[in-house]
């Protein structure tokens, strides 16, 4: 076997790699923000909302968790486009991924909310806090603190899974790598570089979550213990 490694041929395409990395990061960033907002909201509805709303959220969560992300993306980008609604591809991709991650986030946050002891709610109630105040100050914050490590993992997974969106035409990192590969036929080198880049991205996302956690949860910052 005589194979000459030629990473230079791949690295020549660095502008594409940078562009792809940037797109992946942006996609992850926006999906993280919207995903956590949707997830926290749906988790509150699912645990404390009226019956019909709980069922609606349940339906959303189960539907998303039990169908492939690929089909969800195709549906949102091509299915809806065929009905005449044309979204910029990156917007469609962000929406698809947000809807997907929102469902998983809902389940994680719900577990956190359900871990809050009844006595906490009673104490808040007896101090005169309204239901909304109780949720905001006594339920959501400790719930998020408790499930934060699970959330961070889920969002690293989201970043990795965003590579699927290359197949609907999003020029994120994997999409760009595919282009380089078809230009250079340097498959081995391309995927080694790609793997390293994803690894670095994952470390960055994890570090971002760790820093955010320190900012959001002063108790954890001070004591370093899980809640």
């Amino acid at each position: 076997m005589t194979y000459e490694f030629d990473f230079a041929a791949v690295l020549e395409y660095w502008p594409l790699l940078v562009q792809g990395t940037w797109t992946t990061l942006r996609l992850t960033f926006f999906c993280t923000i919207f995903g956590i907002l949707i997830g926290a909201f749906c988790a509150v509805v699912r645990t404390g909302g009226p019956g019909w709303a709980r069922h609606l959220v349940g339906l959303y969560v189960e539907f998303i968790r039990n169908t492939p992300l690929l089909i969800q993306s195709y549906f949102l980008i091509f299915g809806i486009a065929s009905m005449g609604v044309r979204l910029p591809i990156l917007v469609g991709a962000t929406i698809a991924l947000t809807i997907n991650i929102g469902a998983y986030t809902t389940e994680i946050v719900r577990a956190g909310i359900e871990s809050i002891h009844r006595g906490q709610l009673e104490a808040a109630e007896c101090l005169g806090l309204s239901r909304v105040q109780t949720y905001l100050h006594v339920v959501i914050r400790p719930a998020l603190e408790r499930v934060y490590p699970a959330l961070a993992s889920q969002y690293v997974l989201l970043m990795l899974a965003s590579s699927i969106l290359s197949s609907v035409g999003v020029e994120e990192l994997f999409g760009m790598a595919n282009r380089i590969q078809s230009d250079t036929f340097r498959n081995f080198e391309v995927f080694v570089v790609l793997g390293v880049l994803y690894l670095i991205l994952a470390v960055i996302v994890r570090a971002g979550f760790a820093l955010l956690g320190l900012a959001l949860f002063p108790r954890r910052r001070k004591l370093g213990t899980p809640l």
Binding site: G119, Q120, H137, V138, R219, L223
Partner: protein, 244 residues
Amino acid sequence: MSPIVELKDVRKSFGALEILKGVTFGVNKGEVAAIIGQSGSGKSTALRCMDRLETIQGGSMVICGHRLQDSNIDLKALRRDVGIVFQSYNLFPHLTVAENVMLAPRLVKGIARAEARTIAEAVIAKVGLREKMDFYPEQLSGGQQQRVAIARSLAMEPKLMLFDEVTSALDPQLTGEVLRVMEQLAADGMTMILVTHEMGFARKVADKVIYMKDGKVHEMGSSDILRSPSTPELADFISEAAEH
């Protein structure tokens, strides 16, 4: 003296199980009332009804002028007037001692942060924990946590304080430090109702002792009834309690 708490023939069931079978008693302003009795006698349920954590199904209950049997009761107003402390402290674990105490004044009364902090300092000093202001609950002993819970209620300046077996989870030494805080409160003139197993404390501090049995008030009177009970059931209860 006007009664601040008035229960008349109060009834409460959980499903088919009747817990309160017509409870009647009153507590005047500034009085300390101790409710004693075996587990299952309904004493904690009676107390929880007074803060409307449970709704009553029969009779009438008037607490600080609020009629608890009314379906359109102003719960927010009731809870401004009534403070409650639980056996399990129920401090908010993600907040410091000061933040635990400041939360309700800020959110419920809309008091600014700086002023809320001043209030918190005062009530936390009252329970003897000034140096623990910025600690988290998990860094405190059970007795200290319970004293913070008392401070948290006091910060809302209630007219009536309810104590639900607040020392049952504590060892004797920690029990002592919590009871001393409660004794000081009583001396300051706070109206208090406590469900307790601490006979010594009831004897010393209570103006009124209410012995409950099988969902009813079985015997009631000044703390003298603990020395010379008039019913054989209370006599048995006291001698059993003394053995522990």
